[in-house]
C-alpha cells in the first residue's frame, strides 16, 4: 500500500510536469477560444478513493447543479479526467464559445462541456504523457447534470484504491467562470507514474 504514495521528490517532479502540461493547455485554450484563459497552478493530492466524495463536497457549493464530465484515457497510464463546472459558469463558457444567449440550452451546454473536457484532457494529458514518454488515447467524453455534487458519490471508488487528484481552477478573462479539472488515475497507473517519474529523476 505504501507504494501507492509518492515521496517528496516524486511529488515535486510530478508537479513540474503538470505545470508544463497545464501551461500548454492554457495556450491551446487561448488559441481555440480566442480569449485569455488562465489555469491555476495545479494542486496534487493523493487520497483514498472513498474520500473523493468528501473532497468534492468540500471543493463545491451545496445544492448547486453541477455538470460533471468524464473522459477515459488509455495507454501506459490509465485513468479518467473529471471536469466539474457549475451551471452558471458553463453558460459563461458557452458565451465565450461564441454562442448567443438565446442559443444556449441544456443540450448546447452539454456539448460545450464535452468540448472543454476534451480540450483540457488533450492539452494536459497529451503533454504530460509526452513528457513521460507514455502516449495515451482518448475515449469520447460523457457528461451528466447533477442536482448536487454529492450525487457523484462513489461512482469511482469501486475502481480505485488511491486517486491522484491533479486539480486546477480555470478562469477566463472578464467572464466569471470557475471549473475544476481533476485527473484520476488507477492504482496500477500510480505505480507506472512512479516508475516513470523515477526514471526522469535518475536522468537529472
Amino acid at each position: 500500500m505504501t507504494e501507492l504514495i509518492l515521496d517528496e521528490d516524486e511529488q515535486d517532479c510530478l508537479q513540474e510536469l503538470m505545470n508544463i502540461a497545464y501551461g500548454s493547455a492554457t495556450a491551446s485554450i487561448t488559441e481555440i477560444l480566442n480569449a485569455d484563459a488562465e489555469l491555476g497552478i495545479p494542486r496534487i493530492k493523493i487520497i483514498n478513493a472513498n474520500e473523493l466524495s468528501a473532497y468534492l463536497k468540500e471543493e463545491s457549493e451545496d445544492n448547486t447543479p453541477y455538470f460533471a464530465s468524464v473522459q477515459q484515457f488509455n495507454g501506459k497510464i490509465n485513468g479518467e479526467n473529471l471536469f466539474i463546472i457549475d451551471k452558471s459558469s458553463a453558460k459563461n463558457i458557452a458565451l465565450q464559445f461564441g454562442l448567443e444567449e438565446d442559443e444556449i440550452d441544456d443540450n448546447e451546454l452539454y456539448d460545450i462541456i464535452l468540448e472543454i473536457t476534451n480540450i483540457l484532457s488533450s492539452a494536459t494529458i497529451s503533454k504530460f504523457s509526452q513528457e513521460l514518454n507514455a502516449p495515451v488515447g482518448f475515449s469520447p467524453p460523457s457528461v451528466d447534470l447533477l442536482e448536487s455534487i454529492i450525487k457523484l458519490d462513489n461512482r469511482f471508488s469501486k475502481d480505485y484504491k488511491k486517486i491522484i487528484i491533479v486539480s486546477t481552477d480555470i478562469h477566463f478573462e472578464k467572464e466569471n467562470i470557475k471549473g475544476q479539472f481533476l485527473i484520476l488515475t488507477t492504482d496500477e497507473s500510480i505505480l507506472t507514474i512512479k516508475t516513470l517519474l523515477n526514471k526522469i529523476l535518475d536522468e537529472l
Binding site: S28, I32, D111, E115, N118, I119, S126, F138, P141, S142
Partner: protein, 510 residues
C-alpha cells in the same frame, strides 16, 4: 505482403469517412457515405458540405476541426448530445424510433499544415434504439415503483392504525399462527409484567395459565370465559378470555383476547359482602320485631309469678303454667337465633331441603316487618317440592325479592298491600313465583334491574344492588333461572298490577 492503398480500406470500412478542410470543403467521401446519403464522391468533391447538408451547425463543426488541429488530438460529436452531424433519413419501417441515423463522430487531424481533418462517422442507431427502449422500461419501472411505494405507504398507514387500535384496547391480545405466537399488543406485555414483546411471545399463553386449566383453552372457542392467569412474578389474577380461530392463507390463526377483571371481581366480592351486611341489618330489625312479643310474654309471666309469690298466693299450677310459657318463649327466641345463624352462615355444600319449609322460615323472619307495614302475604305453596341446592342462598335471594316488593309497595303508597308467593312444578321445572301489586317496574329499566351499580345510577332505593346479588345467587351459584315481568292479575275480584319475579330450577330426578 503489399498493403492495399488508402482508398481501398476507406471504401470497405463499415463507417463513414470524410476528409474536410477548415472551410468545410470535402476532399474525400467514402463508399459507406455514398450508399447511405445517395450522394456520390464525384458530386460532393471540392464542394462545401453545408451545401448538401444545410442543417449542419457550421460554427460548431469548424470549432471542433480547429480544436483537433490545434491540439493534435481527437475531438468528438457525442451521440446523446448531438444526435447526428449528417441528416441521413432512415428507411426501415418496423420498430422505427428515429427519423435519422444516430451518429457518433470523431475528428482527427489529417494534415495540420493545410488545416485538413478527417471525420469518422459511426452509425449508433441500434445502440440509441436500445437506449431508448431501456429508458422506456426504466420509466415504466419508476412508475411501477411509485405505485408500489404508494401501496406500501397505504399499507403502512393501515398497519399503524391497526397497531394503534390494538395498543389502545383494554384487552391483552395474542396472535398465534399455527401454534407459535407472532404478535402481542402493548397491553399484553404490560398485563403480564414482561419487559418486551419478544419476552412475552416466548412465554406465550400456555405459560400464563395454570397447567390444570390448559384444556379449557382448547375447548372453548368464540365464547368468553373466566380463567385465573399467572403474571411473570407468579401472582395470579382473574381474567375474561375469548378465543377466536380463523383460517387465512392455509394457516390456522388463533386470536386470544384477555381482559383483566380482577378489579371487577374484587368489587363483586365487596358488593356481595355489602349486600349481606344490608341483609343482616334487615334481619336484626326482623329479630327485634320477633323478640318483642315473646320477651313481653316472658316478662309478664315472670312478674306475675313473682307478685303472686310475694303475696303468697302462688299456686303450683300457676307456677308451672308460667314457667312453661317462659320455656316456650325462650325456645321460640332460640329458634329465631338459629334461623338467623343459618342465614348468615354461608353454604358450603348443597343439601336436600323442602322448598315450602324454606319459604315459611323466611316469612317467619320477615313476619314482624311485614306486619308493621300492613302487608298481607298470600302463599300458595306445593308442600312436597324438594331441592338439592344451597338453601341459605335461596333464603337470601327470596328475602331480597320480598324486601324489594316491600319497598315498592311502600314507595308507591299502595293502600291494600299484597305479596303472592306460589310454588309449583311445570314442564319438569320447579317454579317459584313472587308477585306484588306495587304497579310494576318502569318498562325503561326492567331489563337493567339485574345489572350491578344500577341503584347508584338511578338512585332508586331497593332495586339494583340486592337484585344483582339475587341474580348472581340464583343463576351463577344455584344454576337456576331468574326472570322478571310486569303482570296484571285478579285477586278477590279486584284487578292489580305488579312485578312478578320467577325463579326456576330443574326438577330433581327421583
Amino acid at each position: 505482403m503489399k498493403l492495399r492503398d488508402f482508398g481501398y480500406i476507406c471504401n470497405t470500412i463499415d463507417n463513414g469517412i470524410i476528409i474536410l478542410d477548415k472551410d468545410l470543403e470535402v476532399h474525400f467521401w467514402n463508399k459507406w457515405l455514398e450508399s447511405r446519403t445517395k450522394i456520390s464522391f464525384d458530386e460532393i468533391k471540392n464542394k462545401k458540405i453545408e451545401d448538401f447538408f444545410p442543417n449542419i451547425n457550421i460554427n460548431k463543426l469548424k470549432r471542433k476541426i480547429k480544436t483537433s488541429l490545434s491540439l493534435n488530438s481527437p475531438t468528438f460529436y457525442n451521440t446523446e448530445v448531438n444526435r447526428y452531424l449528417l441528416d441521413i433519413p432512415l428507411n426501415n419501417i418496423s420498430s422505427k424510433f428515429f427519423d435519422s441515423m444516430q451518429q457518433a463522430i470523431t475528428i482527427m487531424p489529417y494534415d495540420k499544415n493545410n488545416d485538413i481533418a478527417v471525420l469518422y462517422i459511426y452509425d449508433n442507431t441500434l445502440l440509441c434504439e436500445s437506449n431508448f427502449k431501456l429508458t422506456q422500461v426504466q420509466k415504466d419501472l419508476v412508475n411501477k415503483n411509485t405505485e408500489l411505494e404508494a401501496s406500501k405507504e397505504e399499507l403502512l398507514r393501515s398497519y399503524t392504525t391497526i397497531e394503534l387500535l390494538l395498543n389502545t384496547t383494554m384487552e391483552a391480545i395474542f396472535l398465534f399462527e399455527d401454534d407459535s405466537c407472532t404478535h402481542v399488543n402493548k397491553k399484553a406485555i404490560e398485563l403480564f409484567s414482561y419487559s418486551n414483546e419478544e419476552d412475552t411471545k416466548e412465554h406465550a399463553i400456555y405459560d400464563l395459565i395454570s397447567y390444570s386449566k390448559r384444556d379449557i383453552m382448547e375447548a372453548i372457542i368464540d365464547e368468553p370465559f373466566e380463567l385465573e392467569m399467572i403474571k411473570k412474578d407468579k401472582s395470579v389474577f382473574d381474567a375474561l378470555v375469548q378465543i377466536k380461530i380463523i383460517q387465512k392463507d392455509g394457516k390456522k390463526i388463533k386470536i386470544i383476547t384477555i381482559l383483566d377483571i380482577s378489579e371487577l371481581k374484587t368489587k363483586e366480592r365487596l358488593l356481595a359482602q355489602q349486600s349481606k351486611m344490608a341483609a343482616m341489618g334487615e334481619m336484626i330489625e326482623n329479630i327485634a320485631h320477633q323478640w318483642r312479643q315473646p320477651l313481653s310474654t316472658i316478662s309478664t309471666a315472670a312478674s306475675g309469678i313473682r307478685i303472686q309469690k310475694e303475696l303468697n298466693i302462688l299456686e303450683d299450677k300457676m307456677f308451672y303454667d308460667a314457667t312453661d310459657v317462659i320455656v316456650k318463649s325462650t325456645n321460640h327466641l332460640s329458634q329465631t337465633i338459629n334461623d338467623f345463624k343459618n342465614f348468615i352462615k354461608g353454604d358450603t355444600n348443597k343439601v336436600l331441603f323442602n322448598l315450602s319449609e324454606n319459604i315459611k322460615t323466611n316469612l317467619s323472619i320477615l313476619e314482624g316487618h311485614l306486619k308493621t307495614n300492613y302487608i298481607t302475604v298470600i302463599c300458595n305453596l306445593e308442600d312436597n317440592i324438594e331441592l338439592i341446592n344451597y338453601s341459605n342462598e335461596l333464603s337470601q335471594a327470596l328475602l331480597n325479592i320480598l324486601n324489594n316488593s316491600n319497598d315498592a309497595l311502600i314507595d308507591n303508597k299502595i293502600e291494600k298491600k299484597f305479596i303472592f308467593i306460589d310454588t309449583y312444578i311445570k314442564n319438569e321445572e320447579i317454579i317459584i313465583e313472587i308477585k306484588d301489586n306495587a304497579l310494576g317496574i318502569d318498562k325503561d329499566i326492567i331489563k337493567k334491574i339485574f345489572e350491578p351499580y344500577f341503584t347508584t345510577k338511578h338512585k332508586h332505593q331497593g332495586k339494583g344492588l340486592g337484585l344483582y346479588m339475587t341474580h348472581q345467587l340464583i343463576e351463577l351459584s344455584m344454576k337456576g333461572v331468574l326472570s322478571v315481568e310486569n303482570k296484571d292479575f285478579t285477586y278477590n275480584k279486584s284487578t292489580y298490577t305488579g312485578a312478578c319475579f320467577t325463579i326456576s330450577f330443574p326438577l330433581l330426578k327421583k
